[in-house]
């Protein structure tokens, strides 16, 4: 065998390399900058610079893209406008998430435990807290996750898909376990998330093996060609395709692969929940779009069963269970399950429009999610002695928030209305374009269910708005809740609120940008 140095088009991978390179550099920072406070500052700066630089590079690439895009190294990675659009979206979530990671309470507490390895409630924990320990590794871990997600949106090979899935999942498993308060819940969430995540990725891998067996390749293009030509292996292809899609549906959080969502959302530190909720769903949707449109497009009729069943189940279950939730983070988790269903609606019939509608949908959903959790991170329980505790996530604790902090409550109401798809918010346009895509392929019964589900979903969003604005603080509870002021979190609230309104009123420019993204370089869809 002779070895020929592979030709790799590095330039299209620049944003990815910036992020992953910065993550590796940040690990070095961990070893060489000893003082926690300085290390934190360096990490934050490094993360923000890397993410913004990567976003800038991606935008420049968008502007100067040669033709439809570039295929890097024998079908492994495809960088086209679709990938760039998603990457920019994930980078935006990354920047906002990093700001949330860095936000602190007035008392100088961040959301993460001072030391992940000590038992909750032990003297060591107290000692570590007193000594000002900080797990600044969360920043590089977040960078790794962002890098993995960016890769996830661009890979065009099932094995690389599996690797990218793990690259972004592993940091998330760790991050979920690092909450400062309620660490038992945090551990529990991480354990569940990890075990089920590993379970689902094994399913995905087995599906990939089947597809490899049926078509002799793991490249999307090859699979697509294989589906068209291969004879006698149909069951293998179908079973493999279903298992791969199930692996991705797990990450999207669609029923019945959703069970991890509420537990991980509730257990994780709120900034991680925000980042995870927004970015994971976006990355998984991007990967699902790509694998469906580039590899499984020929299976449209067979897979439509799967899409319909899962979409309907997700919308109904997410909505119905969210109605009876009493914990805010859990309620939003179930709402995310319902949103997974709405996302899948756009897949019905594999319309071309989904390629441009879903990036917008996920942008609107992700921004509102980020903003909502940023608001949650600002509403804290207060002990009798005036010490500020963890987030007040019981719904009842939000009663009368509109009087205490009209701006925070107003922003929250805006995000909730956006989730509900009320006009003049980004969520309305998002739902509109997503459902319009499905209607264009004649999937109107599904859209009808989606419309009914989103109307029903409005109930529990509105219930919180009523609680915030139309209910008084319960007697004797006036001092039980404290409004925190963390500049970084406030910035996130402000930016996301502004974007949600902006995208709701003048979505034009962004929509047309995504319209350009709606062409896949290797699309079997054409």
């Amino acid at each position: 065998m002779t070895f020929t140095t592979p030709e790799i088009a590095w330039a299209p991978l620049a944003p990815l390399m910036i992020v992953l390179g910065a993550a590796a550099a940040a690990i070095l920072v961990e070893s060489f900058v000893r003082a926690p406070e300085r290390r934190r500052a360096v990490q934050l700066l490094l993360s923000l610079v890397a993410l913004l630089a990567a976003a800038g590079t991606a935008v420049v690439q968008w502007a100067t893209l040669d033709g439809a895009g570039t295929v890097v190294l024998a079908d492994m990675v495809t960088v086209d406008r679709q990938a760039l659009a998603w990457q920019v979206l994930i980078l935006v979530f990354g920047v906002l998430g990093t700001l949330l990671f860095a936000s602190r309470t007035r008392a100088g507490e961040e959301a993460f435990t001072p030391l992940g390895s000590v038992a909750p409630g032990s003297t060591e924990e107290t000692l570590a807290r007193r000594k000002g320990f900080q797990v600044t590794e969360v920043f590089p871990l977040a960078l790794f996750a962002v890098g993995g997600m960016m890769l996830f949106t661009a890979v065009t090979d099932l094995i690389f898909l599996f690797v990218a899935l793990e690259v972004f999942s592993l940091p998330l498993y760790i991050l979920v376990a690092l909450a400062r308060r309620r660490r038992f819940l945090s551990h529990e969430g991480a354990l569940k998330y990890f075990l089920l995540g590993a379970f689902s990725s094994a399913i995905l891998l087995f599906g990939a093996a089947f597809l490899y067996g049926a078509t002799g390749t793991t490249a999307y293009a090859g699979i697509s060609a294989g589906i068209a030509t291969a004879a006698g292996v149909d069951p293998l292809i179908l079973a493999g395709a279903v298992m791969v899609i199930v692996g991705l549906l797990f990450k999207i959080g669609a029923v019945p692969f959703h069970s991890w969502t509420p537990d991980a959302y509730q257990g994780a530190p709120t900034p991680v929940t925000a980042f995870m909720g927004a970015a994971t769903k976006a990355a998984a949707t991007a990967a699902l779009l790509r694998v469906v449109y580039e590899a499984f497009y020929g299976l449209e009729w067979e897979l439509s069963w799967l899409i319909w069943i899962v979409a309907i189940a997700s919308m109904l279950l997410g909505t119905v269970v969210a109605l009876v939730q009493t914990d805010l983070k859990r309620m939003l988790a179930y709402s995310s399950v319902a949103h997974a269903g709405f996302i899948l609606v756009a897949f019905a019939g594999f319309p071309d429009g989904a390629l441009s509608a879903l990036p917008f949908y996920l942008a609107s959903y992700g921004l509102a999610t980020m903003g909502a959790f940023a608001v949650i991170s600002q509403v804290r329980e207060k002990a009798e002695d005036g010490a500020v505790l963890g987030e007040a996530t019981r719904l009842g604790q939000w009663a009368g928030l509109g009087r205490r902090s009209p701006l925070l409550a107003g922003a929250m109401a805006l995000f909730l209305l956006s989730f509900a798809g009320i006009p003049l918010t980004a969520g309305f346009i998002g739902k509109f374009v997503a459902f319009a895509a499905a209607v264009s392929e004649g999937a109107w019964p599904l859209v009808l269910i989606a419309v009914i589900a989103s109307a029903a979903a409005a109930f529990f969003y509105v219930r919180l708005i009523v609680l915030m604005f139309l209910t008084d603080v319960p007697e004797g509870q006036e001092d039980a809740v404290e409004i925190e002021f963390s500049p970084y979190a406030r910035i996130v609230v402000l930016v996301t609120a502004a974007l949600v309104i902006l995208l709701g009123i003048v979505p034009g420019p962004v929509l047309s940008a995504f319209e350009n993204a709606g062409v896949l370089l290797l699309g079997a869809a054409g």
């Binding site: 094995i159 592993l170 551990h187 590993a198 093996a209």
Partner: protein, 99 residues
Amino acid sequence: MDPINFVILASILFAIGAAAVLLRRNAIIAFMGVELMLNAANLALVAFSRMHGEIDGQIMAFFVLVVAAAEVVVGLAIIIAVFRARQTISLDEPAELKG
């Protein structure tokens, strides 16, 4: 004998691994079940690789090996963290997040 039989073997191992996740309370054993599922996928990949007369499948199995090793490290770290907090590795015990 047709190498496809190894794929059948892989399917059986996959199902056993999945059953372990469903049935075992011990987190480490459940996790070993996941490892078995990954290895089953590897066996299928290698068998198909042999059938297609190319070694791409083996390379993929190689990658899976590395990924699985990394996953084991993180998984066991989480299990240890849970053990330190609760003094148990039973999966049934941490069940406060529900509903």
